[in-house]
Amino acid sequence: MNAAAVSGKTGSRAGLALAAPGKAGDRVFRLLTWLMAMVVLVLLALVGWTLCKGSALSLSKFGWHFFVHSNWDPVNGDYGAFWFIYCTFVSSCLALLIALPLSLGTAVYLTELAPGWVRQPAMSMIEMLAAIPSVVLGVWGIFVLVPWLREGPYPLLVKHFGFLPVLRGPTTGFCILSAAIIIAIMILPIITSIAREVFRAVPDSQREAAFALGATRWEVTRLAVLRYSVRGLFGAAMLGLGRALGETMAVTMVIGNSDKISTFLLAPGNTLASKMAAEYGETPLGLHLSALFELGLMLLLVTVATNILARLLIGAMGARQPTGTGAP
């Protein structure tokens, strides 16, 4: 086929009637997208600034006292967050204590031990757990978990371990321990997911070398995989902790909403988040509102700190983060 005949060109180019590009389009578009990206930075600043400004009154009024003193009295205008800090800390740590071994075991199972066809479906199922909204888990917590705990495990616990000062009964079941359990359920997926990524990042050559030495499956895992992954696993735990600290709805529904100090795990309490949620329906003003903001500020700072720490630990491993979609 003769290209010249087809193209109809005889030498010089005819005009093409195409629009001249113009830099305006590029500039406008780039500016627009830049603005939108900057919104994220603005948003972060906004959150920080709003919380700081909001808690200014309370900070100036109570200062250090706020953290070591425990009270929540809108009538007399006296607020102290120690109990909430304590409950947050205890419930989250307990939750981590429960969830971490289970998650690690699961992650080991899914990466090292499970038959191939099981792995992806099982992981998907676990990620479904992450997608369950907190309030739904809370409903299940109130009507299924807590009654069961109250009838079965808790009395057993009190009977056998009641000599320990923290495990005295009786209990309605709506208590710090129940909150810890439900938080544990909520953070299982994320720890499992990250632990799995961390394990997968270990090159197969390491495992092969261990196998070649005649190690059993467990020894291979211990020598080749776990030792390599310690840092990343710390990061997974940190992320789990961060998530645990921010858990709100399910905790609010099972923790019993009490501001009374107690050393019993089976006593009701309030975490920072659940206390804030418990203010629903009140219309706090003035100092009351400021104290609320201070709770929020503390919550934000502590979750940000754990997240940054987690990121540093995991980033060092180069492991990826999962498609977590849970609602706290």
């Binding site: 590029d26 289970l102 998650s103 699961t106 739904v136 299940w140 921010g246 979750t303």
Partner: protein, 280 residues
Amino acid sequence: MNHWYHRWRKLKSSGVSGLCLLCALAVMTPLALVFFHLLKAGASSLDLAFLTQLPTPPAEPGGGMANAIVGSATLLGLAGLVGIPVGVLGGIYLSEFGARRRNWAVRFAADILNGTPSIVWGIVVYALVVGYSAYAAGLALGFMMIPLIIRATEEMMALVPNSYREAAFALGIPHWRIVLNIVLKTAGKGIITGILLAAARVTGETAPLLFTAFGNDLWNRNLSQPIEALPLKIFNYALSPYDDRHRQAWAGALVLIIFVLALNIGVRVMTRGRAPRLAR
């Protein structure tokens, strides 16, 4: 002795394997239990009346969560108005333009925002916007969507091979048209799934609504008034002293989880596992 020791090692290994299997089962049990109970307690209450009627006065049994369902849809729409344009365009910026350091700051901020407890979003918007309203709630949820969508969009755009950009440049097409008509179009499906996942996540949120939407037992016709939403209603009903309300809370929870999981599973099926990472 070697023989026995070897036996012991093997036993230990099997033992640990068994433990790990137990762990895996333990992790999956709550999911199964939650579903089981949801279906058992909620399915029977999930009738047409529930889906179409308004709530009755507190002590009266009956009624439904129609306004809550519509409210959730309304809030999702409002949130999307805020979250989708900002998130997608911002994600485009991170992927296609921008300097390394500035991008790192934006990504870092997005990750921090993603890790912010949702109740904090609630009180922040409470401070910024006067009064309880659908707008406030939509804004809070929209703010939550922004960092989720921006990361998903960036990831999906970055996956588009550079060869397409090169080919488009070689045709003398202006950069912005390349980004919009070629790169964005190629990444489109992935970005949409990112948006859907963010929508699913945000629909299940209750905490931000406590201080913004407040709740409403009637149809919300005015977006500057308090509005009801499904998670909020579930929360209210679960904590109420009435059995009939509890029954409805289960039904509402079932509706909510069906919606959320349907979106999640749908997305997974659509992308066959290559869904964008939203956040940790």
